[in-house]
């Protein structure tokens, strides 16, 4: 008879950022928030609301998790104050530069 396999009985996954992996790698453009232009008020939070990947945390100043942000640009599109700009490239200013 075949060897018995140890481990889980059935397939299971839990909610976690980036179930498909570090999807931040998919970006060709990266969103950058200008916190001066941002209302910094709970009554807005449109970017957080619209983000399809839930990578914006609703605490001010807002932060975008660039490990998983796919660069779709919906946040920049929806922001009523044009506080978000999509800049070319995948790296944020904090990351080491590589052309």
């Amino acid at each position: 008879m075949a060897e018995t396999t140890k481990g889980p009985l059935f397939a299971e996954s839990g909610p976690a950022p980036g179930e498909a992996g570090r999807t931040g790698d998919w970006r060709s453009h990266t969103p950058v928030i200008d916190h001066e232009k941002c209302s910094q008020k709970d009554t807005c939070l449109l970017c957080w609301l619209y983000c399809p990947d839930g990578v914006i945390t609703p605490d001010f100043p807002l932060e975008i998790d660039v490990e998983y942000c796919k660069g779709c640009g919906v946040c920049a599109e929806e922001c009523p104050r044009n506080a978000i700009t999509m800049i070319e490239g995948r790296k944020t200013s904090a990351s080491p530069k590589r052309s």
């Binding site: 075949a2 140890k6 481990g7 059935f10 397939a11």
Partner: protein, 398 residues
């Protein structure tokens, strides 16, 4: 003149259905079959294929629709995979019991749960008791040719035919395929006239309730009971063995290539050991046979092309002189062993053939099966104790 294109099996299947001048298509998309539906829909849209394309909401409806269309005399086509095929399971029985020449392309994919989009043959194997003829293809050329042959077989036997090919492995892999001309296909496959089941002047109720005992109809004619109709289907499927063989032979006469009819052999003439498999895995096994020979084990391959009806006698004949038989298949009947292995073992027993027999389950859910892995398992099976085993299971404890 025919045309060599580098295409996928899905494209080959769509080309074949179009060349067969199918009249009604009803198919619901499911990975990895989807390109077949897209290509056929595009052909109908462009006017290249004069067919009704029914956009149905499920696979169950797809099969139900083409059962209806076939009953009024249309040549029909559908395709599915995995959970889609399973969704139409009830209607597969219905198509066979209604004795309809439906052709379905099954793009083999593993079934959930858990979800997989990748290849194994559990989907079609799980349908082996539905009364359909099942043919398994080893490459894209065979897919195209077998769909054409399927219409001849189905229309002659009035039994539905499932043409199976491995999802992603063949369905999305490009390779050279000779696409025959429309004129050549027309010569091989005349138009389907239907069975004349439904005529305006002659009202009839198809598939009424049938009781266990034969009983007379309204005109006093004794009609068969359920058992008789089932027996008839079974006898006719057994008789289709010869039709499948003959159709492939005639195809070879017409097009210059044949696929072995019920089964094909590779280096079997002087083989002491046989590897038996179906579909693309059987082709992979030919590479394993070559390797085993360099190790001094004279090995050949038997590729089973027709799985239902099961070519028991042909297989027994092909394996009469070998010492070991090792089956590799991409399916398992839980609680026992792989379906091909168990069917084959019984056939050899019936023929009084005693061999060292092993069966391996491999490649479920798209797990890659390379010739080297087949070599490893086969070497063990040939030299050591026969067994039922699984190839490349990676245990959590391993």
């Amino acid at each position: 003149m025919s045309d060599i294109k580098i295409i996928t099996a899905n494209e080959a299947a769509a080309e074949a259905a179009a060349l067969c001048r199918v009249q009604v298509i009803a198919a619901y998309p499911i990975t990895p079959q989807t390109p077949v539906t897209e290509e056929l829909a595009a052909m109908v849209e462009r006017g290249d294929l004069k067919a009704e394309y029914l956009t149905v909401e499920s696979e169950h409806s797809a099969m139900a629709s083409i059962v209806g269309a076939s009953q009024v005399g249309a040549r029909v086509f559908t395709a599915s995979s995995a959970n889609g095929l399973l969704y139409m399971h009830e209607m597969l029985h219905w198509a066979a019991g209604s004795r309809l020449p439906v052709v379905l392309a099954c793009v083999n994919r593993g079934v959930g749960a858990p979800w997989t989009i990748l290849n194994d043959q559990q989907d079609s194997i799980a349908q082996r008791d539905t009364g359909w003829i099942q043919l398994y293809c080893r490459n894209n050329q065979e897919v195209l040719d077998t769909i054409i042959q399927a219409y001849r077989i189905a229309e002659q036997t009035l039994i539905p035919v499932m043409v199976c090919y491995d999802g992603f492995v063949l369905s999305h892999t490009n390779m050279p395929v000779e696409v025959p001309s429309q004129a050549d296909v027309d010569r091989f496959l005349p138009p389907w006239q239907g069975q004349g089941l439904l005529e305006p002047e002659h009202f009839v109720n198809l598939n009424p309730l049938i009781l266990s005992e034969p009983r007379p109809d309204a005109q006093g004619n004794l009609m068969p009971g359920y058992m008789e109709l089932r027996h008839r289907l079974h006898e006719d499927i057994l008789a289709s063995l010869a039709v499948i063989q003959q159709t492939d032979y005639e195809f070879q006469q017409a097009f210059g290539r044949g696929w072995g009819g019920l089964l094909w052999g590779y280096r079997m003439d002087d083989a002491e050991h046989a590897l038996v498999s179906m579909g693309s895995l059987a082709l992979e096994a030919t590479g394993a046979a070559d390797s085993l020979r360099t190790q001094g084990l004279r090995t050949g391959v038997i590729g089973v092309r027709a799985y239902r009806p099961f070519p028991a006698r042909a297989l027994a004949q092909a394996l009469a002189r070998v010492k070991t038989v090792t089956v590799f298949e991409k399916d398992v009947s839980y609680g026992y062993a792989g379906a091909l292995a168990t069917d084959l073992k019984a056939a050899l027993f019936d023929a009084g053939i005693s061999v060292k027999f092993s069966g391996f389950v491999a490649g479920l859910g798209g797990r890659d099966v390379a010739a080297d892995q087949i070599v490893q398992a086969a070497t063990d099976a040939i030299l050591n104790e026969p067994r039922y085993g699984w190839v490349d299971v990676r245990g959590a404890s391993a």
